[in-house]
């Protein structure tokens, strides 16, 4: 067991930072309290650098960890910048105004940042997972802190309601995939992915295992906000403060997709020939399940997004649709391992791009506020964005660039991330799904262009209630970084594409001589059985 530590240095770095933050946030000194954010940032950067040095693992996706963890750390820094001022701003203002004194029992800052870091630790652990138990714990470590973060992110009753809904539905989802995990264990007698895939390769899929896999995948749909577990998304994203919504659109989704990639790679052993070119990478029932989920998820997300006037609800539904797009890459599978044919690499690359683009659009919402009946309220109506390019050029153009990128407009980042999904699905022979994807991309253009049109082509509404800029400079920085990242990454996409290409290679593709089921059996027990 101890050799697993070699892969866990990033998580350890994050955990250390978490512990420090927990203490710092409760300090009486304002200067020390203020260190929470920077310490988190340092922790993430160190974790990211350590991740790059992670060695190849003997798991089913040997190179997954370096790319996935570095990507998580990178987007994490952006999200951390966004979080600034979410829970601590009003409190510190009141303390500074002498209306109240610092009370360690009532402050939320320590747990807010600590939960953020716990969630990221869990997220990285998902990438490190080598077995069902580990995966389950990692997924829950990712999600549990977010339930609390949603609730404490804003003082409005909506946030409380959102937190409760999120928690209960999350528990329901967790119950379903945990049930699935137990069935997989029941069907194979193993908990580690390599062992399970060896068993599946040797004996084929029995019905208990199949039911377990299906339930596990459906349960994980909660994490990625896919049909039929998507209901909570809009309410929760709207209820939570915009920075937390941005985090929800990335963290659980990434965790879910890492889990799905691991599970599908695991069951691909039962598909007869793995890594083949013509759609045979998954057992047929699993493929059909994912196919239906993908098609329904993107369609439902998009048609609901069309109707929205609230930017946050719109982005919530569009985040559902993006999960649907990414599931296409899962259905396509690793192909021959090259970037344009490897759906798993496409998903991993898409997660990075989506994380970057998403911060920008949520950031614009997070940077604007107006005085409501109880305190500051976020500005989230589409009409409030009118003429933003004229009144606040930085925010307006960030919105335009990020929305165009989310829409997949060449030559921005969103285009380069969507392209491999198309090419991998085509090369895997999933033409029908590609058509559904294309139609959905067209529908999505409608509402994304609405996000472009409002700031760029319309004039500000003179009757609208006045807005002010949120006095948190970090959020603007995150927004502008995201918008410039959309352009910069599109220009310098190559290293990231290569990294995701490597990360998305299954163990079978790593072998110089790709073979059939026999080789799996003998290659499986790489790590000695010590449980």
């Amino acid at each position: 067991m101890i050799e697993r530590v070699a892969f866990l240095w990033p998580e350890i770095a994050l955990f250390v930072a978490t512990c420090v933050v927990m203490v710092l946030g409760l300090s009486r000194s304002l200067a020390l309290r203020r260190l929470c954010g920077p310490v988190c940032g340092i922790g993430l950067v160190i974790a990211g650098l350590l991740a790059l040095r992670t060695p190849a693992s003997p798991g089913i996706l040997p190179q997954l960890m370096p790319y996935a963890k570095a990507m998580i750390a990178g987007v994490g820094v952006l999200l951390l910048l966004m979080l600034g001022g979410t829970v601590d701003r009003e409190e510190e203002e009141q303390i500074a105004a002498g209306q109240r004194t610092f009370d360690a029992a009532r402050t939320n800052r320590a747990e807010f940042y600590a939960f953020f870091m716990f969630s990221f630790t869990g997220l990285m652990l998902c990438a490190s997972a080598d077995g069902l138990i580990w995966l389950f714990l990692a997924l829950e470590l990712t999600s549990l802190p977010t339930y609390v973060m949603v609730t404490i992110s804003s003082r409005s009753a909506r946030a409380q309601e959102a937190g409760v809904k999120y928690f209960f539905l999350g528990a329901l989802g967790a119950a379903i995939f945990l049930y699935g995990f137990t069935l997989i264990y029941g069907g194979t007698g193993m908990t580690r992915f390599t062992d399970i895939s060896a068993v599946l390769a040797a004996d084929g899929m029995n019905s208990i295992t199949l039911a377990g896999v299906m339930l596990a995948l459906i349960g994980i749909c909660f994490k990625i906000a896919a049909v039929p577990m998507h209901f909570y998304t809009a309410d929760v994203y709207q209820g939570a403060a915009a920075p937390v919504s941005a985090m929800l659109a990335f963290v659980p989704k990434t965790a879910g997709f890492l889990a799905i990639i691991l599970l599908t790679t695991m069951v691909s052993a039962a598909a007869g020939e793995t890594g083949g070119g013509d759609g045979g990478w998954l057992p047929e029932p699993v493929r059909v399940l994912l196919w239906v989920i993908a098609a329904m998820t993107m369609t439902v997300g998009n048609v609901l997004a069309i109707l929205q006037r609230s930017v946050k609800r719109l982005l919530a539904y569009s985040s559902i649709a993006h999960s649907g797009y990414m599931l296409v890459g899962i259905v396509a599978g690793p192909g021959d391992g090259t970037f344009t044919h490897n759906g798993l690499a496409a998903v991993l690359f898409y997660l990075l791009c989506y994380g970057v683009m998403n911060v920008g659009v949520f950031g614009v919402v997070a940077c604007l506020e107006r005085r409501g009946k109880d305190g500051w309220e976020e500005v989230e109506n589409l009409d409030d964005l009118r003429g933003l390019c004229k009144t606040r050029p930085l925010l307006g153009w960030s919105m335009v660039i990020c929305a165009l990128s989310l829409l997949g407009m060449p030559p921005l980042l969103g285009f380069w991330s969507k392209l491999p999904l198309f090419t991998s699905a085509i090369s895997a022979g999933e033409l029908a799904l590609v058509i559904v994807l294309a139609v959905n991309a067209a529908i999505a253009a409608y509402y994304y262009l609405g996000l472009v049109r409002a700031p760029l082509l319309t004039d500000p509404d003179p009757d609208a209630a006045p807005m002010t800029d949120t006095p948190v400079v970090w959020r603007r920085l995150a927004t502008v970084l995201s918008a410039s990242g959309v352009i910069a990454l599109a220009i310098a996409a190559d290293p990231f594409m290569r990294a995701s290409e490597t990360a998305g290679r299954t163990r079978d593709l790593m072998k110089p001589d790709r073979g059939g089921a026999d080789e799996h059996a003998e290659a499986a027990p790489v790590v000695p059985e010590d449980r």
């Binding site: 809904k165 299906m214 039929p228 309410d235 399940l289 409608y446």
Partner: protein, 701 residues
């Protein structure tokens, strides 16, 4: 050989160490020194300087953009001179960087390679000498000419100017057709920018658009030609193309007159390239944009629309001469189109009153000569005429520009007269006189020798004698309209009225003569135009230009065909006397009609001729209604078609799209109730959805 010629040639040979080379053409390509590749990029430095000036408010009001451009072009000219001196008849290739390199398999025709590399032979150097040299001089002229626009306009002008020289350098120096095409499109784009320099003037905007669109028609031909070259010969690089065995084989066949064995698609290439050349070099029927292009500032007209860009078509044909030789009909077509253009433009030029427009039509006409020269297989004559024309036509335009500048935009030759007698206009008048003599083919000027070379070849080349006669007639017309301008504007009684850029009282106008920069440039160009005749007498059989062409891909020498005689004499000798007589006759008529006995600017003896009021003269003044004809034939039908498509798009396609657009919205409305906000509803949805999904999977598999 006439006596005078022999004497001058002897002098020439003793004075100049001739650049005479024995090397055969299509010599092997050697790698050249890297510094030679700097010349095209120096103008880019000028662009950067202009951009910086435009961005920095403190520099914006300075003249730095102008001087930066002049300096960068002057250095580029120096580099080209150095290149020329060290070239020694070789063909060099300088590789700057890899640009396009695609391959799909091994073997010929399986890779598309187009590098940012430069093919430097004597043809390249010949063109680059006047592109950079005249570019530097005209930029110097523009320093003063564009003075009233100092500020952003100044930056914009010189940025466009430098960018043009860069593009032109790419066009001329490219070592492959794709880079050449980049330059070709680049000069078209810069021409568009600079014609539309006064973008608040609707006529300038319309002219810019017209130039761009008409050029697109030609460019389509060029693009197709380049593609066909790749399809046929599997390469776009000059070195490989001209050494291509199939091409050499076809060339042998063509020289033997056996065109039947050359595939149609190979013969088609030249015809397609020709269309591109016609567009860029303003040949019939695509010449209509050039006269309108005079809406741009005069330095632009002088550099782009007289001296350099419009000769790109000549360059293309000269560069691709081997391709044209293997096409049975391409060169005769070129000859005929050139001849028709020369005559047509000359007749229109005779009837115009706007001096810049007269010069524009004269440019079209002279380009026609060059094409005719290429068509009758005297690439030397064509190149020589390009070279002399570049000097004297630039001078003519710059003189017209000086008049325009000094008389508040006045260009009507009926409203200005007697510049010679006014203070400060002597250099302009002298430069104009030299240039006019060149253009009208006055004996012993450069224009005289270069035009005669084309005329003589036209007469002796079998089957082209009619072309010779038409060109001879055109030479007379040219002399007439050229000196019509000179006698009306530059000599005669002093009489003028200001143009519409004068905003004071009509009586308060005083012309202001050009300053030192304009005078200096005109003096240099005037002397240059005078001396350019000298290159005919140095360095080999056909002069210096002949030796330059001899070392390049444009070289052509078919044995025996050129040894014809005219009236039992050497054609060149006889043509000297004939064309001199014709030219002098044209000048004499212009003198009689427009100078003798004229007492004011507006009227002269020509007005009393019955012909001047006739219908034919009016048609010529209205440019033979070619624009109106095109409008009727192309623009209107296309506009109508556009209306039809607009209607279809508006009512049918949009309707279809709207129907499909409403579907997602309806679906959304249908799904929306599921988002009730109630926790138990969501939970039910989740469980129910799971069940339904599992059911679907069970049913499908």
């Amino acid at each position: 050989m006439s006596g005078i010629e022999r004497v001058i040639q002897t002098i020439g040979e003793t004075v100049v160490v001739g650049a005479q080379h024995g090397g055969g053409h299509l010599a092997t390509v050697e790698p050249g020194p890297t510094w030679m590749a700097l010349a095209p990029f120096l103008p880019l430095v000028g662009v950067v300087i202009c951009l910086i000036c435009a961005l920095v408010p403190r520099l914006r009001t300075s003249k730095l953009p102008a001087w930066g451009t002049v300096a960068s072009l002057a250095v580029a000219f120096g580099l080209i001179l150095a290149t020329w001196l060290s070239l020694d008849g070789r063909t060099l290739n300088v590789h700057a960087w890899e640009w396009i390199n695609l391959s799909w398999g091994d073997g010929p025709g399986r890779a598309l390679i187009a590098n940012f590399a430069f093919h430097i032979d004597s043809l390249t150097v010949l063109w680059m000498l006047f592109v950079t040299g005249l570019g530097a001089l005209i930029a110097l002229y523009a320093v003063e000419y564009m003075e009233h626009d100092v500020g952003l306009g100044y930056c914009r002008f010189f940025a466009g100017f430098s960018l043009f020289v860069f593009s032109m350098s790419c066009l001329v120096m490219a070592d492959n057709l794709l880079l050449m095409y980049l330059g070709w499109e680049g000069v078209g784009f810069c021409s568009y920018l600079l014609i539309g320099y006064f973008y608040k003037k609707p006529s300038a905007v319309a002219a810019a658009k017209k130039a761009f669109i008409v050029n697109r028609i030609g460019d389509l031909g060029l693009a197709l030609g380049i593609m066909l070259i790749f399809v046929q010969f599997g390469t776009l690089e000059y070195g490989e193309l001209f050494a291509n065995e199939r091409l050499l084989h076809y060339k042998d066949l063509a020289l033997a007159g056996d065109f039947a064995q050359i595939p149609f698609n190979v013969q088609l290439i030249a015809l397609l390239l020709m269309v591109g050349a016609f567009g860029k070099s303003a040949q019939f029927p695509l010449y209509v944009w050039l006269p309108d292009a005079m809406e741009g500032p005069t330095p632009v007209s002088a550099l782009i629309h007289a001296a350099t860009m419009v000769t790109a078509g000549v360059f293309l044909i000269a560069r691709m001469f081997p391709i044209f030789l293997v096409s049975e009909h391409a060169l005769p077509t070129v000859a005929w189109i050139g001849t028709i253009t020369a005559l047509l433009a000359a007749t229109i030029g005779m009837a115009q009153f706007d001096i810049k427009r007269i010069m524009a039509y004269s440019t079209v006409s002279q380009l026609g000569y060059m094409f005719a020269g290429l068509g009758v297989l005297t690439s030397v004559g064509a190149a020589f005429h390009v070279f002399t024309h570049a000097f004297f036509k630039a001078t003519l335009f710059l003189c017209c520009g000086a008049v325009m500048h000094g008389f508040a935009g006045q260009l009507d030759l009926r409203k200005v007269s007697g510049l010679r007698s006014q203070k400060g206009w002597m250099i302009v008048t002298l430069a104009m006189l030299i240039a006019c003599l060149n253009l009208s083919g006055f004996p012993l000027t450069g224009g005289f020798f270069s035009k005669d070379m084309i005329l003589a070849e036209a007469f002796v080349t079998p089957g082209f004698r009619v072309i010779g006669w038409i060109l001879l007639l055109t030479a007379g017309l040219t002399a007439y309209y050229t000196f019509r301008v000179f006698f009306r504007v530059f000599v005669g009684p002093v009489d003028y009225e200001p143009g519409d850029e004068h905003h004071g009282e009509p009586g308060s106008f005083h012309p202001h003569p050009p300053g030192w920069a304009v005078n200096l440039v005109l003096a240099i160009l005037g002397v240059g135009s005078l001396l350019v005749a000298g290159v005919y007498f140095v360095g080999g059989e056909h002069g210096w230009v002949g030796s330059m062409i001899h070392d390049s891909s444009a070289h052509y020498q078919a044995d025996g065909t050129h040894a014809g005689t005219l009236f039992g004499q050497d054609p060149h000798t006889i043509m000297y006397y004939v064309s001199a007589a014709i030219g002098l006759a044209g000048i004499a008529i212009a003198w009689w009609l427009h100078y003798a006995g004229r007492t004011e600017a507006a009227t002269c003896r020509a007005d009393r001729l019955a012909f001047t009021g006739s219908r034919v003269a009016r048609w010529a003044r209205d440019k033979w209604y070619v624009d109106e004809f095109y409008d009727f034939l192309f623009r209107r039908p296309l506009w109508l078609l556009g209306q039809v498509f607009y209607f279809i798009d508006r009512w049918f396609v949009d309707g279809l799209v709207n129907v499909f657009g409403i579907l997602p919205r309806l679906t959304g409305w249908a799904v929306r109730p599921s988002q009730s906000g109630l926790l138990h509803g969501y939970a039910l949805g989740t469980i129910g959805g799971t069940a339904v999904l599992l059911l679907i999977v069970w049913l499908v598999t």
